[in-house]
């Protein structure tokens, strides 16, 4: 797999894991939030209904009390008593003392003129004959007016009751300060945006509204469908939500309106909500980080395992390539050896004839002699190749001896002393004097050192240096053969252990030396590596196991 496919895999895994962990989290969060705010709103609404109902009852009771009070006065007194100014004054004083909301008290005859009046205003001469309320009270017996400014020029309303007494009809009328309602509804107002007020049937304010304006201006409320005892309607204005509870009073056709801003009422919820959002964000971040780390580690392990397997595959490939090439080489060598021996015997026969003088006098005897020598030499050359190929393929039983690699190296260099002197090559030993003995096949190891030295001598050619070094390297003993030759181009480094790979001119190298070393070391439980930079020489380092355990091939 390539690096990009690992990256792809990583993001895929992260995406899947995040999907399966974040979606339930968000669904849960959404449901909780939804249910919570729904029930909170319901609670808010029911609370509003409760407030509206209780306040309406209070106002109803207040109005009712006033009406009953007036009716009692009217029914327990005669017109004669009531028109007595002194009596009326004392009566007004009594009720004014019990209820400050009474402003004045008047007795009106059936022609609409004041029969008697007690109060702060001089209304004795006012005639109400043409007033709408006068006709209403004559008709219905009881009348509660809307709030109006009237002759007195401040908001008030009147309650009037009719008394029929011995064929005469008279009306007891009281003016009531509508401020009393203002106080009654004001304490319902909640928060900074809550409001409460009374309106008449034409939506004219009967008490001042906190935001809607003064008494008798129009209240602005949205359309709502009436019907139930308390109507709830909501609307939004300037981006703020409002909820209003509206109910009708029983004695008049006024309506009590209580408005609230749920946004304000819900602000604790909003605080909780933002806290929950923050919590969710933190959770999501943690899940993401956890997922990323886990996936990265898993993918990393996978990559390492794959790389390891690829390396193993490469080793196995190399071994099996060696094995099959070995078999092929053996077959080829065998098939060539038979004709080679016939060629050699034929040439030998000719030489026999020459040696015995049977061809004496033959003109081209010298040429023939030379030709026979050539045949012999080239058969020898071919034989070397086939025997090396067979050697490469040969199955060896490694011997087991205690080997001192340092001594072995020095001995091997001694074999090549003449060559080294002749070429003026300096050989340097950089050997670890404390190198332990290892149990291995000394002949094969010597062959390895010899081959490597020969290669190095070929690489150096003349006037160079070859360094032999030994050391303990982990569970191995390592021996390096370093030369100052031309080095190996990087594109050829991977091929040097392949059979038949050679850089020497045709006929000078079989290309089998290093591959034989490679397979020999395999059998001995060791390995060989090469390091080289073109132009900087090369180091071949082979490793033999310290444990001395020699693997059976």
């Amino acid at each position: 797999m390539t690096a990009t496919s690992y990256t792809k895999l990583r993001w895929k895994l992260i995406a899947i894991t995040l999907c399966f962990s974040l979606i339930p989290l968000f669904v849960l969060g959404y449901v909780i939030h939804d249910q919570f705010s729904k029930s909170y709103e319901e609670k808010l609404t029911s609370n509003l209904v409760l407030v509206v109902n209780s306040k309406r009852d209070t106002i109803d009771m207040f109005l009712n009390e006033r009406v009953v009070q007036l009716q009692n006065l009217a029914n327990t007194h005669t017109l004669a008593q009531m028109t007595n100014q002194t009596y009326l004054n004392s009566l007004f004083d009594i009720i004014h003392n019990t209820s400050r909301s009474f402003i004045d008290l008047g007795v009106i005859g059936q022609d609409g003129s004041h029969e008697a009046y007690s109060g702060p205003f001089d209304l004795r001469d006012v005639n109400y004959k043409d007033e709408a309320w006068f006709n209403q009270v004559m008709l219905k017996g009881v009348y509660v007016s809307d709030v109006f400014m009237g002759f007195r020029n401040y908001p008030h309303f009147i309650i009037a009751v009719k008394r029929r007494e011995a064929g005469k009809t008279w009306i007891l009328r009281a003016t009531i300060d509508s401020d009393v309602f203002t106080t009654l509804v004001r304490n319902v107002r909640s928060g900074k945006l809550g409001d409460a007020y009374l309106v008449n049937r034409n939506w004219e304010l009967q008490t001042p509204s906190r935001f809607g304006g003064k008494v008798l201006s129009r209240a602005h409320l949205p359309e709502y469908s009436g019907g139930s005892s308390v109507d709830i309607c909501d609307w939004s204005e300037n981006g703020t939500m409002y909820v209003a509870g509206i109910t009708s009073l029983s004695l008049t056709d006024w309506k009590l309106v209580v408005t609230e801003s749920p946004g304000e009422a819900l602000s604790p919820l909003l605080r909780v909500q933002s806290m929950v959002y923050l919590l969710f964000l933190i959770c999501a971040c943690m899940i993401f980080a956890g997922t990323y780390l886990t996936v990265a580690s898993v993918v990393g392990k996978l990559k390492a395992a794959n790389d390891e397997r690829a390396a193993l595959d490469a080793t196995i490939m190399q071994s099996s390539k060696m094995a099959s090439l070995g078999k092929m080489a053996a077959g080829v060598a065998h098939e060539i050896n038979n004709p080679l021996s016939i060629i050699r015997e034929s040439a030998g026969w000719i030489r026999d004839l020459i040696n015995d003088g049977e061809l004496d006098g033959f003109e081209a005897l010298d040429d023939l002699n030379e030709a026979v020598s050539d045949i012999d030499r080239h058969v020898e050359r071919a034989r070397t190749v086939t025997h090396r190929m067979l050697g490469f393929a040969r199955r060896m039983e490694p011997a087991q001896e205690d080997v001192d690699l340092n001594i072995l190296a020095k001995q091997t260099v001694a074999f090549l002393e003449n060559e080294i002197k002749y070429r003026n090559i300096e050989v340097v030993f950089d050997l670890d004097s404390n190198l332990p003995l290892i149990t291995t096949d000394s002949n094969q190891v010597q062959q390895i050192i010899l081959n490597l030295l020969e290669n190095s001598i070929d690489a150096v050619a003349e006037n160079g240096r070859i360094t032999l070094e030994s050391r303990v390297d982990g569970p191995f003993i390592a021996m390096g053969v370093k030369d100052t030759g031309a080095g190996i181009p990087s594109n050829q480094l991977s091929k040097v252990f392949d059979p038949f790979f050679t850089t020497k001119p045709a006929g000078e190298g079989t290309g089998l030396g290093l591959s034989i070393i490679y397979s020999t070391l395999n059998k001995l439980g060791g390995k060989i590596i090469v390091q080289s930079e073109h132009g900087q020489g090369a180091v071949f380092t082979f490793f033999l196991p310290l444990s001395g355990a020699v693997r059976d091939s």
């Binding site: 038979n338 060629i343 067979l390």
Partner: protein, 132 residues
């Protein structure tokens, strides 16, 4: 010293022809046969000092022929001839009673050397046995 009598067994006629001529020239009595069966037939009629036996032949193989020769003719030494490489098949031959082995292609003098050695060995053995 009497001339050595040698039988060469190989499946290559050209090889037999040349090796015969060359050994003849070196004062060795040479007979050649093409396979193991013929070799055994020949040996039943004629005594030879040394048999040169190719390891790989069609029909009766070199090793089988060797076993048969060792069983029947105690005074005949065998040199295995191998193109197979193999030091191994040579060693296998020796383990079955061959005196020596030689890898193809070889030098005639090398072969001659071994034939002589084998013959000496056989003579010595005979003497020891005779003396005993």
């Amino acid at each position: 010293m009497s001339r050595i009598r040698v039988l060469v067994v190989d499946d290559e006629p050209d090889f037999l022809k040349l090796i015969g001529r060359r050994l003849e020239r070196r004062n060795v009595d040479v007979d050649v046969v093409n396979n193991g069966q013929e070799a055994l037939e020949f040996l039943s009629k004629t005594f030879v000092n040394v048999v040169i036996l190719d390891v790989r032949m069609p029909g009766l193989s070199g090793i089988e022929t060797l076993k048969e020769i060792r069983r029947r003719y105690r005074n005949t030494e065998v040199i295995m001839l191998t193109g197979h490489g193999s030091v191994e098949s040579g060693i296998e031959g020796i383990s079955h009673g061959a005196y020596d082995y030689i890898l193809k292609p070889f030098l005639i003098d090398d072969l001659l050397e071994r034939i002589r050695a084998a013959n000496e060995h056989a003579t010595l053995k005979q003497k020891v046995r005779g003396g005993a």
